[in-house]
Each structure stands twice: as structure tokens, then as C-alpha cells.
Assembly symmetry: C2
Homo-oligomer: 387 residues x 2
């Protein structure tokens, strides 16, 4: 087990009716900016609950933050923050809105003359302070409500980059499973796959004498498999939605990866696929993950076998179990209705493979995977296998 440090100060308020509590979580006299996405919170009652809880506060609103939140949109919100002396950001929505809030919270303190985009290219350039953030989660998926990471896309340059900073843990996050009742199936499917792959990126590498972390990861994976059908088929089922919300938050609150060796190749490639083809994040993961695993099957065999036995109850030789575990994972995605090949999305896989692999050429580009052996050539071959 590797050395590690862990601290996660976010206060989680979980359950029905908890939105009303944000009133006592935001200090009086704060000037609040309510950040939201495409408008669904105005149709499912969440907006009314939030505004009711904020009665008496000075509230400015900024909506329209898109999935894969953009630098351009965040900069619009930043101008509003500065012009209105906003002192508290309340993100109401999914991971995209929360990620945008984190970027804006830090960008508020960017040095004069420095572009806030610099911190996305070099995390060390993040300012040392940020506006306080609160979150009301309405789409369980990314885990952003309980961590300090965020992903921002820049349309101008086709970049989708990740940053993390200890100042942007939400002060509080409300997780009310009832807010998910109105979600369309596509977003539920995306959330389940995103959560599942988050766990696997932290787990499916090589054993590192971390049996508790392994079993905790398997606990999330097994639970997601157990609840998936209810989540997809029962619209107002509180219990399965509650477990989905708790799984997605636990998948990326930082505990599963303490002391272990991580991968994240699938995410890195996936971000570029989204930036280029505007595919949903989860769709990119479902396409790429099986390809990465097949390509790395020798290095990952021990963990694939452990996963296959414990999570999918597979039997056979180690090689058989490893392949069957990859197959079971892809079948799980497909049963959710998620395409796992480029052709499912009407994309020419060979063209996409060439285009994405090309972005990994150049001395400043990362070599991916826990063994740092997935370069542009390997990425081409992985993506080509997913046509």
C-alpha cells in the first residue's frame, strides 16, 4: 500500500426534503449566484425548493451551463460574479454545473492579466483561494459533489481538461434522490456507466496490497449492477435512486484510490473523443474501456480475475475469466442501452481512431495507463478495435 493523505471536508446532506436545509448552510448576507444547466430544474420542482430555501438571500441567477461545461460559458458567469460582488456559488444540477462552479470559484481569484485557462493546462497555476461553493445534485454520475476535481472544455481549441484544487470542495452538497425521478433514461444510463467506470479506473490495474480498497471498489460495482435494472425501469423508486446517488458519490470521493495504483487511460482518451465528436462522456467510456482492457489484458490479468470472480461470479482458467470479465462488463453497458462501439453512434471508427490517436503525438503528450505504455500507436490500435 502506498503512502497517502486523505481529507474531504464536504458536508453531505442526504435524503428527501434536504434541499430546505441549504438555508442554514449558507452564511447570512452572502450574495449568492445560483448556477444551473439547461432548464430541467425549472420543470421538476427543484428550482422552487431552492428558491424557497433561499428566501431573504440576495440571489442572482445564471443558467445554461451545458453538459461538458465550457470555458466560454464559465467566463460569462465570471463576469456576472465580478459585476455583482457575488460571494457564494450555489450549483444546482449535475456534475457539469458543479464543475463549472469550481472553475468560476477559482477563476475569481486569477491574477490580473492571467487567463484562468492557464490552471487547466497547469494545475500548479490555480489561485490559492476560491469562492465558497454549495451544491444541490440532481444527476448522480460524476461525484463532483463530493470532491475537488473539475473538467472544463474549451470550444475554441477542442480541449477538455481536468483540474483539482483543495479550495473547491463544496462546503455542502445536498443529495436528494427524489430530484432524479424526472431524469430521462439517457441520463440515468450515463450516470450508471460513469460511476461504474470511475470505480474501475481506480481498481483495474495491478494488486498493491490494498485488500480493503479492492473490496470497497467491488462493493460499489456490485451495488450498481444490483440496482441498475430498478434505476432504469422504475421511475419513482426512491430506494434504487438513493443507492445510485450514494454509489456515484462514493465512487469518486477519493477513498477508493488511496494507496493504490490508478489507470484513467479510458477517461483521458474519452475526453478527447467528447471534445472532437461531442459524444456523451459516458458513451466514450463505454466504447473505450473494453478496448483498453483487451489491449492490456496481460498486465491487468490478476485484477480482471479478481473482479470476474467477485463481481461477476465467473469460473474457469484465469485467461478465460479475464476475457469473460471484459465481456460481462460490455454486456452490462449494452443491457443499459448504451452503445459500446463507434458504429452504435454512426461514427467511422477508423477515422476516429486516426484522429484521436493523432492528438497524442508530440513530446508534450502523456503516455497513458498504470504502466505508462499506452502511446499514440497503442491508442490507435485500441480505438480501431472498437469500430
Amino acid at each position: 500500500m502506498n503512502n497517502f493523505i486523505y481529507r474531504n471536508p464536504t458536508k453531505v446532506l442526504f435524503g428527501k426534503g434536504m434541499i430546505a436545509r441549504i438555508r442554514s448552510e449558507i452564511p447570512a448576507n452572502e450574495k449568492v449566484l445560483l448556477l444551473s444547466g439547461g432548464g430541467s430544474i425549472r420543470e421538476n420542482g427543484v428550482y422552487e425548493q431552492v428558491m424557497g430555501a433561499l428566501e431573504g438571500f440576495s440571489v442572482t441567477e445564471f443558467s445554461g451551463i451545458p453538459a461538458n461545461p465550457t470555458y466560454e460559458k464559465c467566463m460569462e458567469a465570471l463576469a456576472l460574479v465580478k459585476n455583482n460582488d457575488i460571494s457564494f456559488l450555489l450549483a444546482v444540477g449535475g456534475g457539469s454545473v458543479i464543475d463549472a462552479a469550481k472553475f468560476i470559484a477559482l477563476a475569481r481569484y486569477s491574477a490580473p492579466g492571467e487567463s484562468p485557462w492557464e490552471m487547466m493546462r497547469n494545475n500548479a497555476k490555480a489561485p490559492s483561494q476560491a469562492l465558497p461553493i454549495g451544491a444541490v445534485l440532481t444527476l448522480p454520475a460524476t461525484g463532483s459533489e463530493w470532491n475537488s476535481g473539475f473538467v472544463i472544455s474549451r470550444l475554441e481549441t477542442n480541449e477538455k481538461l481536468t483540474c483539482g484544487h483543495f479550495t473547491v470542495f463544496p462546503q455542502f452538497s445536498v443529495l436528494d434522490p427524489e430530484t432524479t425521478f424526472s431524469l430521462p433514461k439517457q441520463q440515468l444510463r450515463n450516470g450508471l456507466v460513469d460511476c461504474f467506470v470511475h470505480v474501475l479506473e481506480q481498481y483495474m490495474t495491478i494488486p498493491n496490497h490494498a485488500p480493503l480498497q479492492d473490496r470497497q471498489a467491488e462493493a460499489v460495482l456490485s451495488t450498481v449492477i444490483e440496482i441498475a435494472e430498478d434505476v432504469m425501469t422504475l421511475q419513482n423508486d426512491y430506494n434504487s435512486r438513493a443507492s445510485m446517488m450514494w454509489c456515484a458519490s462514493q465512487a469518486l470521493n477519493g477513498l477508493l484510490n488511496r494507496g493504490v495504483i490508478m489507470d484513467w487511460a479510458t477517461h483521458d482518451i474519452g475526453h478527447r473523443l467528447t471534445a472532437t465528436y461531442h459524444l456523451d462522456h459516458a458513451a466514450t467510456l463505454a466504447i473505450i474501456l473494453p478496448g483498453v482492457w483487451e489491449n492490456q489484458i496481460v498486465a491487468k490479468e490478476a485484477k480482471l480475475v479478481q473482479y470476474g470472480k467477485r463481481v461477476w461470479s465467473l469460473n474457469g482458467s484465469n485467461e478465460e475469466i479475464a476475457y469473460a470479465a471484459i465481456h460481462a462488463t460490455e454486456e452490462f453497458f449494452r443491457k443499459l442501452g448504451m452503445g459500446t462501439h463507434f458504429s452504435d453512434y454512426g461514427i467511422d471508427g477508423e477515422v476516429a481512431a486516426a484522429k484521436i490517436a493523432a492528438t497524442y503525438n508530440g513530446a508534450d503528450q502523456p503516455i497513458l495507463g498504470e504502466n505508462r505504455n499506452i502511446n499514440s500507436t497503442v491508442i490507435y490500435s485500441i480505438l480501431k478495435s472498437r469500430t
Copy 2:
């Protein structure tokens, strides 16, 4: 799943060599009181590491805090705190030392004329502020390093009472597995049993639509079973000790019990057994737990069966699995060398049963268990079954 709130702000520094980091975790100019136990830290190198890290700080020392830390000893330390204007408590030791630090940290702010013992009898009477605390853990067991609870005994009255307060989460806790290398077998055994039973008190009740919490609890239980033999037989095995430390901390950091229904009958009875007979805490748990389960086997059957199947791979009818799961648990304790009956400790079980059950008579006494059906009469019968 029930509604819940979760926040745990403690910073965990995990791994070999991490004691040196406390230097940058304690603000400069703090007047530090180093609290410790019976003296083992002076024999295993921990004291030297801590003092090295504290070079330049004003450090006062207070040692001799006993297992089952006493009110009387804590009040001695409190006098030192007041006389020396101590501003930071550094607990170096096991859960007893950390628990004592929490009590002292709050007692520092008890209202003039009010006995600090009042908060143990009525948690609502705890002061609203506390001295900051840091911890260097040397005995993985109680989880106190990562939560806000503490248990204090009062010799004068034979009381052993529990309190919890959000102000006494340690600001940081160092978990260095190497500090456990010199632990005697009795303390390792105690730590494994304590951790194991902590999980079970939060798990072995009735299903509450919390499949992730269930599986996370089973993850800790399965890991403790997996590592137990290495912990007990390999003195300097870093990996098994690291997992033991991580299991014990995760067992009681508050995550496992969010939204679920808890028991804690075994602990309540156990505390009184320790107060009266001065048995090790873990020994009382090993005696009582199987008795509580057998007594409550009908109510607990669904969870006993789930536990039996998933943690012990048991087969058979539900009733068979439930009994076999109790048996497997007791056998696990016995294999560690832990006595599970009064006779193992030279105690007359019938006398003890009568004596402890008598403390539960009276209108102010709790009725225990998740179904609030374990009263004095039931406790007598449970304890009598453990002669």
C-alpha cells in the same frame, strides 16, 4: 434508506515516515500538550519521531493515560492544560489516549462551576468549543482517530460513558503502520475484534434498502478475516498492518452507518462489564456479541443470512446459515486467541449476569437493540448463556 448528514473533516496522513509531517500540521506558536499512555511509545521509537517533528514547538508532556481512560486522569491533565495555557493537544497512542484528548479538549471550555462529567451523562451539555487535537495512532482498534466520539470511565462511580461532539474530530491523524510492529499479541487481537464488532454493530440489524452500506461493511469484515492470521503471526509485515489500520479507521469513520439501522447493544453491555470487571473492551465484545445474536436470531435472520453467505460463504437453509454465521464469528474470535465465555476469564458467569443485568433496572436505564427489546431480564438471559 434513512436521511442522513455526513461530514468528517479530519486529515488522515497514512504511511511510513508520516509522523515527520505533523510539524507542518500544527500551527506555529501553539503550546502543545503531548498526551500518551503507559510508556510504550518511549520503547518503540515513536516518541523520538514525534519529538523530532516538534522541534521548536513549546511541548509539555502528560503520560500515563490508562486503557479505558479515566475521568480522574483526564482531570489531572486538564489542570496542566489550564496552568500552562496549552493551546493544542497531540494524542500519541491508541484510542484511549485520543478519547482522553477529546474529553480534555471540551472540558477546557466547561462553564465555571459545572463538572465536565455532566457532558458524559448528557451529550447536550458539551461545551460549544474545544481545543484543537492532533493524533498519532499506534494501536489500530477504536477508530477514534477519524471520528468525533469518545468513551470515558469514572472509577468513583463505576461508570463508562460515551459522548460525541463535532468540535473534537482530530484536525489530523497520522496512521503509520510501522508503529504497530511492537504491539503485543493481546493488543493486536483486541484491535481486530474491536474493529470487527464495530462494523457488526452498524450492520447486523435489519435490511434498510442500503445495499452499498451493507457491501462496504462486508468489505471491512472480509478484509479483517483475510489479514488476521498475518497480523497475528508476522511481526513486521507492513502490508497486513497497513490494512489493519485502514480497516479499523474505516470501521468507525461514520460512513458505514449512514442511512441504516444500528444496534450497539453489545457495546453498551460491554462497557458495563469493563467498568465492573476491568475486562479488556474487546474481550467483553467477544463474550457478549454471540449471545445477543442468538437471543435476537429471529429479528436478525435476514442480515445473518446475508453475512453468512457473503462473508463466510455458508450454505444451507436460512436458519442453518444464521446459526452457522454466529458460530463462525465466535470461532474467528477464538482462533485469534480471544476468550468468548466468562469462564475463559475466570469469571462466574451467573454472578456477572446478575450483577450487570441489575445495572439496567430503573426507569432511567436504556432498553437496548435496534428493536428496543433488550431489557434487564433479556440481558440477564444473554449473559447467563455466555458462562
